[in-house]
């Protein structure tokens, strides 16, 4: 009885550590700033659906008409597929809205927490275990 409980506990610990570690390849806070949430709308220019982390690049048109290319980090292909996001969902030219956090280095990079397609379909992709949850967009936040 005692032994069974111990075994259950050990198995639980083992599998939950697998679930956490699978995306804990590096720390969110080493590269991205949780105090700088960002939301951008743009047109997909490149998708690198690769291990261990994927990257989505898209062209954002600024208010002054200038264009800027932004890159956002996502999880592994496996974790994205679990969330329903595959290569076919994001062909080049797709208009996307990406929410996430800016890179600490101040360049045009970020860590994606969610991505929304033109048809309104939204995928919550934020996978780093130490990443803060996405800020709900209430519209009243200043």
């Amino acid at each position: 009885m005692q032994y069974n409980k111990l075994l259950q506990l050990a198995l639980l610990g083992f599998f939950s550590s697998l679930a956490v570690n699978s995306s804990a390849h590096h720390a969110f806070s080493a590269e991205f700033d949780a105090n700088q949430p960002i939301e951008l709308k743009g047109v997909v220019s490149k998708l690198e659906l690769v291990n261990p982390h994927s990257w989505l690049y898209f062209d954002v048109t600024l208010e002054n008409g200038e264009k800027a290319n932004w890159g956002f980090e996502f999880g592994s292909p496996f974790s994205l597929k679990q969330k329903g996001l595959t290569k076919s969902a994001l062909p080049i030219g797709t208009e996307v809205t990406v929410k996430g956090y800016r890179a600490k280095n101040g360049l045009s990079f970020g860590y994606a927490v969610s991505v929304t397609l033109p048809d309104g379909k939204s995928f919550v992709t934020g996978g780093a275990p130490d990443a803060p949850q996405a800020q709900p967009s209430t519209g009243t936040r200043t």
């Binding site: 080493a30 690769v50 291990n51 261990p52 982390h53 292909p77 496996f78 597929k81 280095n105």
Partner: protein, 166 residues
């Protein structure tokens, strides 16, 4: 053709693309790369500690080498092969910082040290059966091996910490 071009060609190859985009194979390759360390690095540590005279002092070096060598070589082959596959999967971003090139350099030092040890003591029966007693040069080889392979493992683990693209 620069080193970067070689890594780019590996990354762009069919194998590199398939591994990079794979759902299951990449994590499995990564898993085998680490699990096989039990046989490659793990047994190397044991042999090095024997050369230093710390572990298994009552067993002659020759017997340890003869019995462990197949396991060590098998483990090393698995570590090495999966390492090559990971190079295909990751491509030029491995060269973004000095960590991975340094890892390759330390592997070279460790390999040269192992070859030197084989050349110097591999057929020295007096040493191998323990008739000669501990040899200073063998101890030095053991220390170099232990230090360099330990560095290789640590440097491997450091790769994602120094590069934003991981």
């Amino acid at each position: 053709m620069s080193l970067h071009d070689v890594f780019q060609a590996m990354y762009d190859s069919r194998l590199g693309t398939a591994l990079a985009e794979s759902l299951y194979v990449y994590p499995m390759v990564e898993g085998v790369h680490l699990l096989s360390l039990a046989f490659s690095f793990g047994l190397i540590v044991l042999v090095d500690l024997r050369l230093l005279g710390i572990a298994l002092p009552s067993i002659p070096v020759g017997i340890i080498l003869r019995q462990l060598r197949p396991w060590m070589i098998g483990g090393f082959a698995a570590t090495f092969a999966t390492g090559i596959l990971l190079m295909f999967a990751l491509g030029p971003k491995l060269l973004a910082t000095f960590i991975f090139p340094l890892k390759l350099f330390v592997i070279l030092i460790a390999a040269l040290n192992a070859i030197w040890f084989e050349w110097k003591f591999g057929r020295d029966q007096d040493y191998l059966i323990g008739a000669k007693g501990p040899a200073l040069q063998a101890r030095i080889a053991g220390a170099i091996s232990l230090t360099s392979w330990s560095f290789v493992v640590v440097l491997g683990r450091l790769i994602p910490y120094f590069d934003g693209s991981f």
